[in-house]
Symmetry: C2
Subunit: 385 residues, 2 copies
């Protein structure tokens, strides 16, 4: 297998982009990544999108976007694993280069979630859960995470305030990210007084509905060196795992088994342990999710994720900063783009271009992106040479 | 890159399967392929599905199906390229093994197209075309192929009867395939008297709405030999290309440029020419499509595809048999499954298990699967050792 490097990244300003279509949103991010990489050649494309069909009534977007980007007839593939679609696109781009099929690959993610005509965004997001056994019986997607939160609080004593602290931390980081959808700070009190969505989760525990895209350019490490890229940023580990997408089939709904297993594979491939990771971008679609994820990744003991946030261990200046970009909570969550945007942040940090949210001396970082309530997970590990 | 072999294939009886759900349909085909391969291990899965979201209101199906098949937590990825989703799944499985990531991969395709609650199957199929510039203005998917047919007839003198002969041939082949949705013969007169759908295309020019699945098991050639598989069936060429998904942007709507380019890549990788191909399974979603495809693949000169059918060159006993399985027309077209089922037929023929539709002494075969009106195309070449 050939070694893979990242030589360009781009994303647009995320938010409710009422005057831009799916194709326009994607092209902005893709051109920005191509410009950043300084290349004039792409061999193939992988596009993560959760549900361009239900959100925008348009399938076949991999060809559509290759055409609008002016790179057709190159191979262009859309991949989907619900909210982990972006992470899956990254993995497929990584495998494509590792195999020797392509030398330069554009990995993109895009979702246009406003302007939904039929069913609405909440309905479309619910299709990440088991429709026949979950949503058709009335539970919403926030409702499923609320069940996880209740169970975690009951089993481990995680507090309502600790959940709020995840949102407060991520908004603090996001306030330093000009591309974030909600780049402002909030207080614990703001979270606790925000409208109840699904007990115990309140509005400010939930990531928003977002229009946005992100793109990165991958190539062989050999080519990155020939292009004199500095620093050389490598993907040294890739793990992908699945679990039941219905909560009722799991032994323990507080434990994200697919994330644990994907991480195990990524750590093995990278020959690293959780202790080696300098910072991570993880899937905080709801505040409880970040707490469960940091446990499943091995950063903290089972049940100790809430306490870790309270102690400041995951803050920008903490032991292991989590979501320096602002995470899904503050930066936004255009579902298919999220897993790709996580990598944009890794590269910005490694290049020391992260401005006020810069983490010092980071050399090893991790991304974790998951689908639904954790039914699929992608974990990648990156090294700055 | 490692060499890739096919060691197991399976599909279920296709049709309007009102009493079976998407997951049940897939599991039938997947278990049949696993049984056929005689293995007890799968490292990863790739699932082609065009629009599980619009057809069944369920995304995230790669994890769902891995779980129901009992193989979670292995990596499982859904890929989509409209009606070429199955061919794309095949290519991603091929790349996965070639790269060294996985040794044994299940490639599946599935679509449940009946029981559609919102919009209907025709609406969902239209999302393979450019919604903003085509479908929102009133054209249907058969309407787009009708434009291609009209242009081909005008430019090359292709006749209404020649279109009908494609359907007659494929139904004749399909009448010998017990798993086909419509396993019966039809006459030219039947086609010409069937209801007009979009002039000049009539009902019997169109592939049907189908529920169905197909699955194949890939592994390294090394492993296939260790398992003493006989014959050894290799994938020796893989090509993937894109084009505009909107017809109005093309120089010539009678020419399938993505198919031509994907074929060029596949021929190059396989070190073969069109003359080397003993038979092919191609994308006859409408009768005109088969005619255009056989030209773009280089089997016949530009504009001569209609004449070739009339002369019997594509019949089961012709110079180059096309769609011995019955094709999309007679076998059915559960869109995401089609590209995988094409491979099922290649393997049945190579193993000489094709019964009354057996082609003698075939050693090199090709599959061509395309999305929309040809905006994406996948071409694969297979060799029997």
């Amino acid at each position: 297998m050939r070694e893979v490097a990242i030589i360009g990244v781009g994303m647009n300003k995320w938010g409710e982009l009422w005057d831009k279509s799916l194709r326009e949103i994607f092209i902005e991010a893709a051109l920005s990544a191509i410009d950043d990489a300084g290349i004039d050649r792409i061999d193939s494309m992988y596009i993560g999108s959760m549900s361009s069909g239900l959100f925008t009534e348009q399938e076949h977007i991999a060809s559509l976007l290759a055409d609008y980007l002016g790179v057709a007839p190159i191979p262009s593939a859309r991949v989907e694993s619900a909210c982990a679609s972006g992470g899956l696109a990254l993995r497929q781009g990584f495998i494509d280069i590792a195999s020797g099929i392509s030398d330069v690959v554009l990995v993109g993610g895009v979702e246009k979630m406003t302007d939904v005509t039929t069913g609405g965004a909440t309905f479309a997001l619910g299709t990440a859960a088991d429709q026949e056994y979950e949503c058709y019986h009335g539970v919403t997607f926030p409702g499923l995470y609320a069940l996880i939160a209740k169970a975690h609080m009951h089993k481990y004593g995680t507090t309502r305030e600790q959940l709020a602290m995840v949102a407060v931390k991520n908004h603090k980081n996001g306030s330093k990210n000009p591309l974030a959808q909600y780049p402002f700070e909030i207080t614990i009190d703001d979270v606790l007084k925000s409208p109840l969505v699904a007990d115990p989760l309140r509005l400010l525990d939930c990531s928003p509905i977002t229009d946005g895209a992100a793109a990165i350019i991958l190539c062989t490490v050999e080519l990155a060196k020939k292009l004199k890229k500095d620093p050389i940023i490598k993907i040294i580990g890739s793990g992908h795992a699945t679990d039941t997408i219905a909560l009722h089939s799991r032994d323990d709904i507080t434990w994200l088994s697919a994330t644990e297993k994907a991480a195990k594979k990524a750590y093995e491939m990278a020959k690293k342990t959780p202790e080696d990771i300098d910072f991570a971008e993880v899937h905080d679609c709801f505040t409880i999710a970040e707490i469960c994820v940091t446990e499943a990744l091995g950063f903290f003991e089972k049940g100790k994720g809430g306490e870790a946030v309270e102690k400041g261990l995951t803050a920008l200046n903490g032991k292991i900063p989590i979501n320096p970009s602002g995470g899904l909570k503050s930066k936004g969550h255009p579902v298919g783009a999220t897993g790709v945007a996580q990598v944009v942040e890794i590269v910005k940090q490694f290049r020391e271009e992260a401005g006020e949210r810069q983490i010092k001396n980071a050399r090893i970082a991790l991304t974790q992106n998951m689908g639904g309530t954790g039914g699929s997970a992608l974990v990648h590990i990156f090294e700055k040479e």
